[in-house]
Subunit: 205 residues, 2 copies
DNA sequence: ATTTATATTGACATGGTGTCACTATTGTCA
DNA sequence: TGACAATAGTGACACCATGTCAATATAAAT
């Protein structure tokens, strides 16, 4: 009666275990094969379930990956929740630099999964929509930070906060992909520093 | 004898015509259906050729689109070739604003094709590589412009030109996609102005 | 023990792809 | 001109992944 979650069946338990097996198998295969090359067959084989089973728990490959994305997404959302109430340009710069570092470090630590996401974004509109959520939340958060700075006389007010926020976010996002794919000889640190200086020198008074 | 191009067969001519028919049909279908939903079947039907014919002229869907991309790519390359020798911050700002406008205007005028490219980039690594060429060329060009400005005492020299160039390009590219997909109420003009001001105020002395 | 509810299963229909052996067309040369 | 060569075009076919569904297995309830 108190057990509010659900009918605490053994059935339900079995179902949850199967689902979990599928998710873990999917993770392994995705990491090994990438999104495109992964087939349901491979996943159910590793998970040791029947073919149709995958479809009773998930709507398809996309859905499987989306669930796996959610962990990583949370890390990004956490960045948006960092408080931002600087009282000077210098303080703002320090705080922003920290955020950029955090952002880039997620890219590094989750590199392999991020590669899969990147591939899957182009292949699945559902996954794309999921990523769009991250974008939206982070841009929203940056917009708030800029607005705060403007209202407290720290930042120039002649530009629309949201337009500036997008510009800033895009630079971050794209550099993040560069880091994921190791496209650069330049250190993560120097990138963070450079883009932060450009941003804060343009925006803050 | 003088006809250096090739064996001036009627065969060769016929072949060229078939190829052209396929390209035109592909263009129509791509615009109508998008990349993913387009099938070779649809293309060859519209082009009035046999199924296998498409494969003798092109390696597949990707290849067809890549050839169609080349026209548009040229427009982007043209931007990179615009000369840039400003003698003051103000002049630099004007010139850069012009470039941004041009860049955005391509997005607008080629909107439908750009949408197809965008979709296809995620689906085909060959097409992705093609787009990467555009990125590379434009970033290279911006890097040169920054270096010139630094060497002539117009721009700060404490930042690596290439890092700044990437940051700038990414903002442009991402906003361009927004324009392509009409994601914004804000005018193209205000976007161009905002990002240019941010960029030049940060970089130029 | 019987019935009901839920979970699992794999065979099947579907649809697109790329290949390849074959046909058709055009050019060449004796 | 007729035979042969070279090139272009063709569509049937094998392949493979997907998602569905009717059937089956397992657990719960009575």
């Amino acid at each position: 009666m108190e057990n509010a979650t659900k009918n605490q069946d053994g059935r339900h338990l079995r179902s949850k275990q199967t689902r979990q097996k599928l998710l873990e198998a999917a993770r392994d295969i995705f990491l090994q094969e990438g999104f495109q090359n992964t087939t349901i067959k491979q996943i159910i084989k590793l998970a040791n379930t029947g073919y149709g089973t995958a479809y009773t728990h998930f709507t398809g490959k996309d859905d499987l990956l989306i669930v796996l994305m959610e962990d990583v997404m949370q890390k990004f959302f956490d960045i948006a929740d960092i408080s931002f109430y600087p009282s000077s340009k210098e303080e703002a710069r320090r705080m922003i630099l920290d955020q950029v570092h955090t952002f880039f470090q997620i890219a590094e630590s989750e590199r392999d999964m991020m590669k899969v996401f990147s591939e899957a974004m182009g292949l699945s509109s559902a996954i794309n929509a999921k990523w769009e959520q991250i974008r939206h939340k982070l841009i929203q958060s940056i917009t708030n930070d800029i607005t705060y700075s403007q209202q407290h006389g720290l930042a120039r007010s002649d530009l629309k906060a949201e337009l500036v926020a997008r510009q800033w976010f895009y630079a971050n996002e794209m550099y993040q992909w560069e880091i994921v794919f190791n496209r650069h000889g330049v250190s993560l640190d120097e990138i963070a520093k450079t883009i932060t200086i450009m941003y804060t020198d343009a925006l803050y008074l």
